[in-house]
């Protein structure tokens, strides 16, 4: 039985390049399918039962690591990628090879020798490798809100939270104030509190959340309340008694 392979890469020219070089160096190998991302790899495994996958790591939709996890030991995996920092680990932990783009025909010939030597064996499971690489390639997404979407007329403004000076409830809306002006959003203060980074966004009043990065000064006022002034903003904010403790040690 001749060996079968699938190539997955989001760049069409690089798929074509790998295919033509494989055809030259290993004519018996049948490339039975090409994929432009890792989506639907389960179907590809079921339908074509390939012995080898050549996977690019960086692909949209589902990347090469996610694809390797789905393949899960049902085929040998060669990573073909321009990221070099994880090569050694990938190789040590079960991937048949890790080829850096752009590669020479000589380098591909070595890969082919390795694949040929392993192709009759049971493929290694790459679960541990995939987990460790995935953690480093894609740092966990922030659990906090990074953007505020605010409607202005027919447009939706996208405001990075770093730019927000403060949020203040205003009857049924919440004001989002930046250096350049303000917008209204529907999300109430108490919901924002749960979603914003508490290190950076402090509630200072029942109706106000301030971005501490923009605080210029805090002044004590009468009766245990305080006043916050902000950089680049004429408005001053009141810190009510229940929240002044946050500024005590400053």
């Amino acid at each position: 039985m001749s060996a079968t392979a699938v190539i997955a890469d989001d760049e069409p020219l690089l798929r074509a390049q790998l295919r033509s070089r494989l055809a030259r160096l290993w004519p018996e190998l049948q490339v039975v399918h090409e994929m432009e991302n890792g989506r639907g790899v389960e179907d590809v495994v079921a339908r074509f039962c390939p012995r080898v996958f050549f996977l690019d790591i960086h692909m949209p939709g589902a990347n090469g690591l996610e694809a390797a996890r789905v393949i899960g030991g049902r085929a040998h995996v060669v990573f073909v990628t321009a990221y070099e920092q994880h090569a050694v680990e990938a190789f040590e932990r079960g991937a048949v090879d890790y080829v850096l783009k752009p590669f020479t025909e000589e380098r591909l010939a070595i890969t082919i020798e390795r694949v040929k030597a392993r192709v009759a064996q049971t493929p290694a499971s790459l679960e541990a490798l995939v987990q460790s690489l995935a953690a480093r390639l894609q740092p966990a997404p922030s659990p906090y809100l990074r953007w505020i979407k605010a409607s202005t007329g027919s447009n939706v403004r996208l405001i990075p939270v770093e730019e927000v000076l403060f949020f203040q409830s205003d009857e049924k809306y919440t004001r989002v104030v930046t250096c350049e002006g303000e917008s209204l959003i529907r999300k109430p203060i108490r919901e924002l509190l749960d979603e914003l980074d508490p290190e950076r966004f402090w509630q200072i009043h029942r109706a106000t959340i301030v971005n501490v990065d923009w605080i210029a000064s805090v002044k004590r006022g009468l009766k245990d309340v305080a006043e916050v002034t902000l950089r680049d903003c004429p408005e001053t904010l009141t810190v009510s008694r229940a929240f002044t403790h946050r500024f005590k040690q400053m």
């Binding site: 590669f103 996208l158 730019e163």
Partner: protein, 357 residues
């Protein structure tokens, strides 16, 4: 937290006495001693007698001054309260001095009114000089602080500029970009030499535009657009049918001044956060127009769009900081959602004539 059983720190003074330091007490004592010595020759009183009076007036004024400095009143400015405190201190201090010396206070006012008046007058006079000195010092300190802040802000901007340069440098000439591009060229050389040539052309134009840029602070819109075009041409070959792009920049706008590396940052963001994560075909449109005295340059993509919890604002806040440094409040960076999906990022800078106006 449990309180520490061995607490060796001196408790801070109560709030209304904040600022009453050992230094201040020593200063007042020294001024009183000097003032008494200076006027002793005019009086029949002994130096010690004068010194007791001076210290009573000095300390009372100092206490009231400190309280006044810490008081908050919406009606009177702090300086006025401080002056009033010194005047009240002089009056009370003179009476206190009489009591300390065991004199009958009512008799003192009846019999030696002139002496009382002189004591109060001297108290007020010296007190005002001291208050003026303190206020001047405070103002000086405030000026210094402002100066330091301005300095710090300037440093921050310089740092921001440097960071922006490094970021752009890393983003576009990062090995990943360069190697993938070269891998494409490598294949094209064998299969389609003409296309390989075009791609190398784009890479050369892009690098030529990008590299000297690192050392310059001025650029033109035309130059920035050419750099973006070369970058998009390369990405277009790499991504194949997943990327389309259009550039609508009228010829007469190309000579307009435009800050360097901002447009390419927006295009790079559009690729990285919009087109690249998207499996379907996306398009990027660069458009420049002049509206109401401003030059507006937009980069619109039809890619993934922003996800509320995903980052990507670092390059953007850098652009914002640099726009602020260059144009004050006259320039803006705005991000909006594109319909039906994607992002429109636009930069608006004042046109030269409106800067001069």
């Amino acid at each position: 937290m449990e309180s520490d059983p061995i607490n060796l720190t001196v408790p801070p003074p109560p709030r209304f006495l904040e600022g009453l330091s050992v230094r201040r007490v020593l200063w007042v004592t020294a001024i009183c001693a000097a003032a008494s010595a200076a006027v002793a020759w005019r009086f029949i009183n002994t130096y010690w007698d004068l010194l007791v009076t001076a210290l009573c007036v000095g300390y009372t004024s100092m206490l009231l001054f400190t309280v006044a400095s810490n008081a908050r009143s919406a009606r009177l400015p702090r300086e006025a309260m401080q002056i009033l405190a010194v005047i009240a201190g002089s009056v009370l201090g003179t009476i206190l001095a009489g009591m300390v010396k065991g004199r009958d206070v009512s008799a003192m006012f009846n019999e030696s009114l002139w002496a009382v008046a002189i004591s109060m007058g001297l108290g007020v006079g010296f007190g005002c000089v001291v208050v003026a000195a303190i206020l001047l010092r405070e103002k000086h300190a405030r000026d210094q602080a402002r100066l330091h802040q301005a300095e710090a802000e300037r440093h921050l901007l310089e740092k921001g500029m440097l960071e922006a340069k490094l970021q752009v440098m890393q983003a576009q000439v990062e090995p990943h970009f360069l190697f993938n591009t070269l891998a494409n060229v490598q294949h094209l050389v064998e299969t389609d030499p003409a296309s390989a040539n075009r791609m190398l052309d784009s890479l050369i134009r892009y690098l030529r535009a990008a590299l000297p840029q690192m050392r310059e602070t001025n650029s033109t819109l035309g130059r920035e657009v050419e750099m973006a075009r070369a970058f998009l041409e390369i990405q277009g070959v790499r991504m194949g049918s997943r990327l389309e792009f259009q550039i609508h920049v009228p010829h007469e706008m190309r000579s307009r001044a435009f800050p360097p590396m901002m447009l390419i940052s927006l295009v790079e963001n559009a690729i990285k956060h919009g087109v690249d994560p998207c499996c379907e075909c996306s398009s990027i449109t660069i458009r420049a127009e002049e509206v109401e005295g401003k030059l507006r340059v937009c980069v619109a993509d039809t890619g993934e769009g922003v996800k509320p919890k995903h980052g990507g604002g670092v390059g953007l806040s850098n652009i914002r900081d640099r726009l602020k440094a260059l144009y004050g409040g006259g320039a803006v960076l705005r991000l909006e959602e594109n319909a039906p999906h994607g992002v429109v990022a636009s930069i608006e800078v004042p046109l030269p004539q409106s800067i001069a106006a």
